[in-house]
Symmetry: C2
Subunit: 653 residues, 2 copies
């Protein structure tokens, strides 16, 4: 309790940026950490770094430190996952005075493997492209080998016993002649399996010769376009003559009534920590979110045939939403008033890798209204008050091969935090001999989107980790079930609905399916408004179609994060991964579904909200050869958090 | 078929604005029409005009005319609903050469009454405020009568027989002393019933003396605010140095690849007609939407007690979404690059009433991305293509007493039409003696949002009328049911989903509940893409919690538009009203639920899509005394309508 009170003063101090406990590792720190491991570790095979990031300090220590940031900085520690001797090694390395020290070291012996590195993917592709059988297969098809490109596909897990599961991937091939849109021109039938630890091709197949779809009309570069062009409109821009309103010190951001810490992680991308909002009526900062980020992204394709069945990707844990984030293009990826930030992560060799323009921050004014009213009930008076809706957006874009994920955090002055997920990029094409739907007699697991090209049905399920701390750590989860009631007949009305409060005492009580009308609250049961409502935030869920895989199917076991759209767990620093920590070839033994089976107490505890949103995607021609953005999102909205509308006293501009 | 082909040429001609068949009645036309009725109609009591609008011409005639707009204009006809002699009269009046002629005239003898006029509401309030018992009730409460304001409440229908149903409303009272936020200060316990035809008070009640909630902190005017103020941010604006890209000729709008006709109606507000999109690949305009608008808005409150049970409003049919549209404030209600338009409707006396800035049109750039991709699979090449998402918005804001509805149409270059519904304004407060939730032992049907004030639970259900004509009139509705399948075991994968096509042959087949995973298509079964997919649009539905009223409860019978989220009917010029045409005190005998029981053929017919979106609203303190905007929406998205992405060839700006 004392901690919570102290926490409130946190953001009144300007912190030296380098000392914030959640600051990502600096390039120098990355170097120190990986050098320490290299020099202290007996190598008999090569050592590859798969994750290098800040080791999250103990929450208690962070809150203590934040309450008194003039005290000495918290010790810096890094968590590292490396691969050597065909084993996954975990290290904890402390950093002090420019030196690193291995604090702990262990070998992970469970199922699954760490995130793939960019470098080993490149190496595997190079290897496969030079593999003699691949070369001869390409030549047999009359293809110019120098125009063949490769891509790494993780292969999931399908019931193999632990000792049968190797760290292998498939390398598949695409043809880039006449178009850069390689994804719609797979050289299907040829595939290689590469063992990433030994970096050797372990399997090769050339099972069938498929047609190569034509390249015409598939390129998406402006430079390759011929008239007629799509309709143009006149220039439009967002301008801020006095500059942006946000202030960034180190990794701490202040904007309007919000303060938060912003970090960037190899695995999940943007992490927002210790977000608090200034309550103008109470004249103090109030805690909202201790930490939040994307946790996992599950993409099961729905073609069960030999060539496609294994495509059941876990993009965060397998490819890294941070390390696969792409450089943002000013004026286009983010509007002209955006500010761009670089980020660093550890490369496979342990050296820091710079991501230029890894994320952007901008104020958004989409022409919307924060609140308004025109009053005509009062004779002789014209009353009209309108406030514009201006918000703060933090954007990152991650490209996993063919697909582009635009992920936005949006902070609103009314206290809401909105999350937007936008899907664009290129749908993976599967080749088919068919040029017209009339020729199709069999199940094609998708839609013919162009001649010889099927867009395969698939899903995107994104699970967010949201450690809300509403006015303190001890929070609870309440479902407000909208329930029909019959009246007693004392008026002509026969029915009404009311909200039946259901308190989630245990983890299994909290799980939710999005089919029933329910309001979902995270409340602080120890804190009431002056008129007695529990302070809280409400989750307005995103789209969440249920998964349609069978419960005992392997992808569904690994991707059990989509069994429900809401889960609550007690805070546990080591529980961050909705699909488990080691998801490449993992067996789903650490998913939210498994974690919550312990059915721990969650009432009046430090709890974490996990929210899964999803998209079923049955492709259409209009999405070929590149896909107009499809968006969804969700909102955390203050609900009896404030005594009254927190932007009532917003001045008109 | 010939018609459809002709239609395609339609927008290549510039039409003289005055002659378009869908143009709203001009002020002169309104005057001619109502004068004609007045002079031809034998009056024994007063005549009040409740609806004056264009009589929609026969679709066949419109399409013929549009195919050859140089031919003589279609005859102009007006449809008028008036009240006289306690009867509802319907008139069809032709207008030619500056003269009107009554073409047909009838008395409506079914259930329900026409839309209330603004003038009769004012008159009823004035009458009630001067009613001696009201004055003395106010004085008994120590209230200054000159500070009391009134508001008209429609009272629904609760099983009364036809001859028992009078055209009466309740006038309720609110106190404006010290605050203009009258809605949170009801003078509860006092109510009057006013007969609108006779314009007399027919009933009066002073059942209980309730507490009057305090005014402090309820005013929302900037001028009444004291520091501290909510956090401010620096100026931000949308600028278009070369002006907007849309061209408006009369009521015809061209923007980017879109052309459509824009009208404004007393009852439903914005009507978009004959919207077509230019297909850059086919180099021609293609039909999308023959006509679309909001049809009805049902707002049942969930307090069944004597004072509140009847509050089950049908805002479009009872109050008029067009006639209750408010003047938009430049720079605030719409961004600075918006263009504003006036509209006219017929007043109660038949004279035209001008609505200044009734709607606005602006190009929107919210910083979003239309499509993008970064390609890293091709060694040595950096490929990044990003296109910004700029759209066209048409906005109108309707205020029904306390609530403000912001209704946007958004046209996107990718072919999507998006609909946004935003709720703001003031929640109706119910008084209570309670100042703290701990005092509440009984069901309060809502939440204590301030001392002595309950925000009452309620819903908003909005049904849109969408007469899609995808590449012609004959269309069909198809549900693509996402269905789980077991595999044959030939691969390790056990399951997948696929789309099972279900064709809706009859009206009852088409009704949909939003609980199952399904894709909803309007297709043209006579038209395929070159590779054989049926051209169509997909409805991405909005939020739609099911109604929680009992099926046989009177409000649910009147508001049966919320029984399903999708309905399909064969086009019928007279079927425009999801809740029926005469909804004030109506018995629900013309709702979509009733209409569709005829179970007409809808396959390969000229069909209409009706879509209902809804919000359950359990209030919170953060929404008091004025509500931060809550938004929802839906999308019509081209699905195999184009051969490929229609904005592939959009130039980078």
């Amino acid at each position: 309790m004392a901690l919570s009170i102290l926490f409130l003063f946190l953001f009144n101090f300007i912190l030296p940026s380098f000392s914030h406990p959640f600051d990502p590792l600096s390039p120098l720190e990355i170097q120190i950490v990986t050098s320490t491991i290299k020099s202290n570790f007996n190598l008999t095979s090569r050592l590859t770094f798969h994750y290098v990031g800040i080791h999250e300090p103990n929450k208690h220590d962070v809150l203590l430190w934040l309450a008194n940031p003039r005290s000495s900085p918290l010790p810096r520690k890094a968590f590292v996952v490396a691969r050597a001797n065909k084993q996954t090694h975990e290290f904890l390395v402390s950093i002090a005075d420019g030196h690193g020290m291995i604090v702990s070291q262990s070998v992970y012996r469970g199922s699954g493997f760490p995130t793939l590195t960019f470098e080993e993917q490149t190496e595997a592709i190079d290897l496969a492209l030079k593999y003699p059988s691949v070369v001869s297969s390409m030549e047999k098809r009359g293809l110019n080998v120098s125009n063949v490109v490769g891509s790494v596909f993780t292969i999931g897990w399908f019931g193999q016993a632990h000792n049968e599961t190797q760290r292998v991937v498939k390398v598949l091939f695409f043809y880039k002649e006449s178009t850069v849109n390689v994804w719609v021109r797979p050289v299907e039938g040829v595939e290689t399996v590469v063992d990433l630890d030994q970096m050797v091709v372990t399997d090769f197949q050339d099972v069938q010769r498929c047609v190569l779809p034509k390249s015409e009309g598939t390129d998406y570069r402006a430079s390759s376009m011929q008239p007629p062009f799509a309709a143009e409109t006149k220039p439009i821009n967002v301008v801020q003559p006095l500059g942006p309103s946000f202030v960034v010190k180190g990794h701490t951001v202040s904007w309007a009534n919000w303060d938060f810490h912003l970090s960037f992680d190899m695995r999940v991308g943007i992490i927002i920590s210790t977000a608090s909002i200034y309550d103008v009526d109470q004249r103090k900062k109030r805690q909202v979110l201790y930490q939040g980020s994307l946790s996992e992204l599950f993409v099961p394709y729905q073609d069960p045939t030999e060539e496609w069945y294994y495509r059941t990707f876990m993009d965060a844990g397998e490819f890294g939403m941070g390390s696969a984030a792409v450089e943002l293009e000013p004026h286009h990826d983010c509007p002209s008033n955006a500010v761009f930030f670089d980020a660093f992560h550890g490369g496979q060799d342990g050296n820091p890798v710079k991501l230029t323009n890894a994320y952007c921050m901008f104020e958004k004014y989409a022409g919307n209204i924060a609140w308004r009213h025109t009053e005509s009930a009062i004779p002789g008076e014209l009353i009209r008050e309108v406030r514009r809706d201006v918000s703060l957006v933090i954007r990152t874009i991650t490209v996993i091969g063919n697909y582009d994920y635009i992920l936005d955090w949006e902070f609103k002055k009314c206290g809401s935090i909105k999350f937007a997920v936008s899907l664009t990029g290129i749908m993976e094409g599967k080749t088919t001999p068919h040029k017209h739907t009339s020729e199709i007699k069999e199940e094609i697991y998708g839609l013919l989107v162009a001649q010889n090209t099927i867009g395969i049905n698939h899903d995107h399920f994104l699970t967010y980790y949201l450690d809300l701390d509403i006015d303190g750590q001890e929070n609870s989860f309440v479902k407000g079930k909208l329930t029909s009631f019959k009246t007693d007949g004392s008026t002509p009305r026969k029915s009404y609905w009311s909200v039946v409060r259901e308190e989630a005492k245990k983890e299994l009580d909290a799980r939710n399916l999005p089919t029933e009308p329910v309001e979902l609250y995270i409340v602080n049961p120890n804190k009431e408004t002056t008129i007695g409502n529990q302070v809280g935030y409400r989750l307005i869920p995103g789209p969440m179609p249920r998964s349609l895989l069978l419960e005992d199917d392997y992808p569904q076991r690994r991707g059990a994060l989509c069994d429900h759209n809401v889960w609550i767990t007690p805070y546990n620093r080591s529980e961050k991964w909705a699909g488990g920590m080691y998801v490449d070839r993992g067996r789903g033994d650490e998913t939210l579904n498994i974690i919550t089976q312990r059915n721990r107490d969650i009432w009046n505890k430090d709890i974490v909200l996990w929210h899964t949103i999803g998209f079923h995607h049955h492709p259409s021609q209009d999405e070929f050869p590149i896909m107009p953005t499809l968006s969804g999102g969700f909102e955390l909205r203050p609900t009896n958090f404030f005594e009254r509308n927190p932007i009532l006293k917003m001045k008109a501009p």
